[in-house]
């Protein structure tokens, strides 16, 4: 009986640790690592070959590398280290801009290949027969079969599971965790806000790999053997099922999933009698049930039993905000006469809650002030897609502190130029300079860190982060954003986080959206999301802001208010470059205005001058 409970506890602990590691990779960081089982296997093998004597011992019937007879706890530490290191080459598949499902298949195939190799290449890890007679930790000091030892082992497994749980919670409930989730929700945007995606993914894989490796080490010390049968592709699917059923992005859900799926299934076989003539029936049916569970959960409850928690940051402060600007933006069923009465009422409230635009936005002092006139310029920019010339030899220079507008008909190449300036697209030719430096070769996240930030035309909020989290994610140079920072804990990054929170709260008040601070950004109306995007870009402390149709879907009165805010920004030294269709906005706020058509710059000047330019009028305004 004792053995039964202790075995249950050890397996439970090991499964919980493995599921936590996968939940971190898949649920938090959004990496669909179908090769996960390899890390657990590598950990088990490592612990095995580190604790086994050299392969000539024990009658020499096994052959494997290593055999160092290392004492506890070195094999377990080794297991975690190898699991983590093994993750590094995996970033080659995950890091590239590969379709999610293609990458997942690549990883799955890698897992199968490793299994094949280890299975067949005997000198490595004893091939199909696997490692046996793996010593239990401390077995020379204590009898591994004594109940004391068994309880001790169970305690170790459970404690380590608990430690892993606390460790992951610590690093997830930190700016680093928030950044990982942002990357999961929309990696392109995270990139444009200055997040180094490659480093983030690598760190996720390494942490998850180390945790998986540790779980393997613990297991092999208990069952004293390990062979390729224990880690086929099917075992990875079991872990995925556990994490999906338990709840993606929720660490308690991962533990719950571990108990419900791998553990319960192991135990269930004990109680279901084996059908006499069909020894393989019950195990096979187990797999069928797991498959059914995966499909039904993904259909009926994809968020799992314990879904990801919504992080409430503002709490009571939010509800004190009163009327919400956004509500007035939601399209009311308008009558033929135009604005409905509710819209009009909402408009009044907007004017009251938006802060005085003449209050300057602080520019941080992180970078040395740039004083030359032209802060951003490009020359000879060209970009073609599949033979279509979207941008053709475009040269522009943008004066510091000015609000420049770029207009032009559909297909003029305005958004393409913006994307090239921001670094989201790579030009076929041309050079770009920012603050006097050539940034042509820099990726988007580096440009963001230099102070060149963009917004996007289509919905680009981090949907499963709250509005406050969206804003706080954009703050640059956060101490808590690296793994090390997260590990050091709240004492290290707490003060900076409070500042970020206050800044974000003020930003929300300024734009009249305080009541929405703790709502998921994905639940907001179109106009509200647009505002969140602008606010988020401002949180990134830009020196030059590239806005891609910021007024699209925004009520005219609010658009006017936003325009005033932008002017205030320029007065405090920030440069704003805006692609827009709304000519009234150009009229009121932008000078100069650049007109593009068919991928080329057509003219530049203020709107009055452009309107009298026959070429411009012809090409764009009235056809």
């Amino acid at each position: 009986m004792v053995y039964y409970i202790t075995t249950l506890l050890v397996y439970g602990g090991v499964d919980a640790i493995a599921c936590l590691g996968l939940s971190q990779q898949f649920g938090i960081a959004g990496v669909t690592n179908f090769g996960f089982i390899i890390f657990q296997a590598a950990g088990a093998y490592t612990a095995g070959v580190l604790s086994l004597p050299s392969d000539s011992a024990n009658g020499g019937f096994q052959s494997y590398i290593g055999g160092l007879s290392l004492p506890f706890p070195l094999p377990w530490i080794g297991a975690a280290i190898v699991g983590g290191l093994l993750a590094i080459p995996f970033t080659a598949i995950v890091g590239k801009r590969l379709r999610g499902d293609f990458a997942a298949v690549g990883l799955l195939v890698t897992a199968v290949m490793f299994n094949l190799l280890v299975n067949n290449y005997v000198p490595l890890l004893n091939g199909a027969a696997g490692l046996s007679l793996v010593p239990s930790p401390l077995q020379s000091a204590i009898n591994p079969y004594s109940s004391g030892y068994q309880w001790g082992y169970s305690a170790a497994a459970v404690i380590l599971a608990f430690v892993t749980y606390r460790f992951l919670r610590r690093i997830t409930n930190s700016p680093y965790g928030r950044t990982l989730r942002a990357m999961r929700d929309n990696d392109v945007v995270a990139d444009s806000l200055g997040k180094n995606l490659r480093d983030l993914r690598t760190s996720s894989l390494v942490i998850g790999g180390a945790i998986a490796g540790l779980s393997g080490g613990i297991l092999v010390g208990f069952i004293n053997l390990w062979d390729p049968q224990a880690w086929g592709y099917a075992e990875t699917i079991v872990l995925f099922a556990a994490v999906i059923i338990g709840g993606l992005g929720n660490h308690r859900g991962a533990v719950l999933g571990a108990i419900l799926v791998p553990l319960s299934f192991e135990e269930a076989t004990r109680y279901i009698p084996s059908i006499p003539n069909e020894p393989g029936l019950v195990p096979a049916l187990q797999w069928v049930v797991i498959g059914v569970l995966i499909v039904t959960f993904l259909w009926f409850r994809p968020q799992g039993i314990l879904p990801e928690r919504r992080r409430v940051i503002l709490g009571d402060r939010a509800s004190a905000g009163g009327e919400v600007a956004g509500e007035a933006l939601a399209p009311a069923a308008t009558s033929a006469s135009g604005e409905s009465s509710t819209a009009r009422a909402g408009v009044e409230v907007i004017s009251a809650t938006i802060g005085d635009p003449r209050e300057p936005m602080a520019i941080d002092g992180r970078r040395p002030p740039f004083t030359a006139d032209v802060i951003l310029d490009c020359e000879g920019l060209s970009k073609s897609f599949d033979g279509v010339q979207a941008v053709d030899d475009v040269s522009m220079s943008f004066l510091r502190g000015k609000l420049t507008g770029i207009i032009g008909p559909n297909g003029a190449g305005k958004s393409t130029v913006l994307a090239i300036l921001a670094g989201t697209l790579v030009p076929t030719a041309g050079r770009i300079h920012f603050r006097g430096e050539d940034i042509t070769g820099l990726p988007a996240y580096r440009r963001a860190r230099l102070g060149l930030v963009r917004t996007f035309q289509l919905a680009s909020e981090f949907k499963r982060l709250t509005v406050m989290e969206n804003l706080m994610a954009a703050v640059p140079d956060q101490r808590g954003e690296t793994f090390r920072g997260a590990f050091l804990g709240r004492r290290y990054w707490g003060a900076q986080e409070r500042d970020a929170r206050d800044r974000a709260a003020m930003m929300l008040e300024r734009f009249g959206l305080s009541a929405l601070g703790d709502r998921y950004a994905g639940d907001l109306s179109g106009g509200q999301r647009r505002l969140v995007e602008i606010m988020r870009a401002l949180m990134a402390e830009p020196e030059a802001l590239l806005l891609d149709e910021p007024m699209a879907g925004v009520h005219p009165r609010l658009a006017h208010q936003i325009g005033m805010q932008l002017v205030a920004l320029c007065e405090s030294g920030i440069t704003v470059i805006m692609v827009e269709h709304e000519l009234s906005i150009m009229d009121e706020f932008c000078d100069p205005v650049i007109v593009m058509a068919e991928g080329r710059v057509l003219a530049e000047g203020d709107m009055a001058a452009l309107r009298s330019n026959a070429e411009v009028v012809d090409a764009y305004l009235v056809g």
Binding site: D101, F102, A241, P279
Partner: protein, 293 residues
């Protein structure tokens, strides 16, 4: 290379042709499913083995395996159709991202493969068939049955070619795969086209299962696990969604794996397929015949 090695090499080309033949039928079916639905159906290998078992049951009733193959074809077609209509399409209508669909297909893989194992038991079975006389052409040694399989494969490839290039359905399939909305504007009933494509590709899947079983000697519920990797390698080499690419990929992968078996130890012969698949994913995910990414 000494004479023995050379003849081993040539002999392995013969084996390679057989593998390529089975692989071609399977890979073309798989890639057609991807072309019209944009889904990587990882349960494909499981459908193959179910069809193989259907052929086995018919065979056990005293019917020739070649007739049994017809039953396998029907089973593959029906099962694939149900898979798309009842599972993949509903998930897609809901807006599930491609990664979710892969996980769903893995779930279906478990259900089909281990459901078959639960029914069939853990011991492998084999078709009762007469492999026929062994024919020798130089160093290439093949049985009559194997030559028949190669011939069937060639004929099927020809039929697929005719279907895609010359029939109305083939045109509709190509249009639906290239631009579904525009295809509807041409008057094509894309829903029907998708359904028919899954029937056709399912038939190919069933046939592949039958010839796989014929060629394997013994088989069991999990026998197609590694074969699925070969299918993926062939598909991604030629380009996902490209039927001619799948044929080319099948030829290369089929021959490469068997030839590598003559050079390296036979246990590792599938490793070359893995390497090619990973290389394509990292370097050129749209395949040799697809557009540059």
């Amino acid at each position: 290379m000494n004479v023995l090695a050379t003849s081993l090499f040539v002999e392995s080309i013969g084996f390679g042709l057989i593998t390529a033949s089975v692989l071609a039928i399977a890979a073309v079916g798989f890639t057609l499913q991807f072309a019209v639905t944009n889904v990587l159906n990882l349960a494909y290998g499981a459908v193959m083995i179910v069809a193989a078992y259907v052929g086995y049951v018919v065979n056990q009733a005293g019917v020739s395996v070649w007739i049994g193959a017809l039953a396998a074809i029907a089973a593959g077609a029906l099962l694939s159709l149900l898979l798309n209509s009842c599972v993949y399409r509903p998930f897609q209508r809901r807006g599930a991202p491609p990664v979710s669909l892969v996980i769903v297909s893995l779930g279906m893989l478990l259900i089909l493969e281990f459901g078959t194992q639960a029914w069939a038991g853990p011991t492998n079975v084999s078709y009762s068939m007469n492999q026929g006389a062994t024919l020798t052409l130089g160093s290439i040694v093949l049985t009559v049955a194997q030559i028949a399989i190669i011939a069937i494969s060639v004929v099927v490839m020809g039929l697929v070619h005719v279907l895609i290039r010359y029939t109305r359905l083939g045109k509709a399939m190509r249009a639906t795969a290239a631009n579904r909305d525009l295809a509807r504007n041409c008057g094509i009933q894309t829903d029907r086209v998708v359904t028919t494509t899954w029937l056709v590709s399912g038939a190919l899947c069933g046939l592949a299962g039958a010839v796989f079983a014929m060629n394997s000697g013994t088989f069991g519920a999990t026998s197609t696990d590694l074969f699925l990797v070969l299918i993926l390698a062939a598909v991604f080499l030629g380009g996902p969604g490209q039927p001619y690419g799948a044929m080319l990929g099948a030829l290369v992968i089929g021959v490469a794996t068997e030839v590598s078996a003559s050079i390296v130890v036979a246990d590792y012969k599938d490793v070359i397929a893995f390497i090619i698949l990973l290389a394509m994913l990292v370097v050129r995910p749209n395949g040799l015949l697809g557009a540059r990414a």
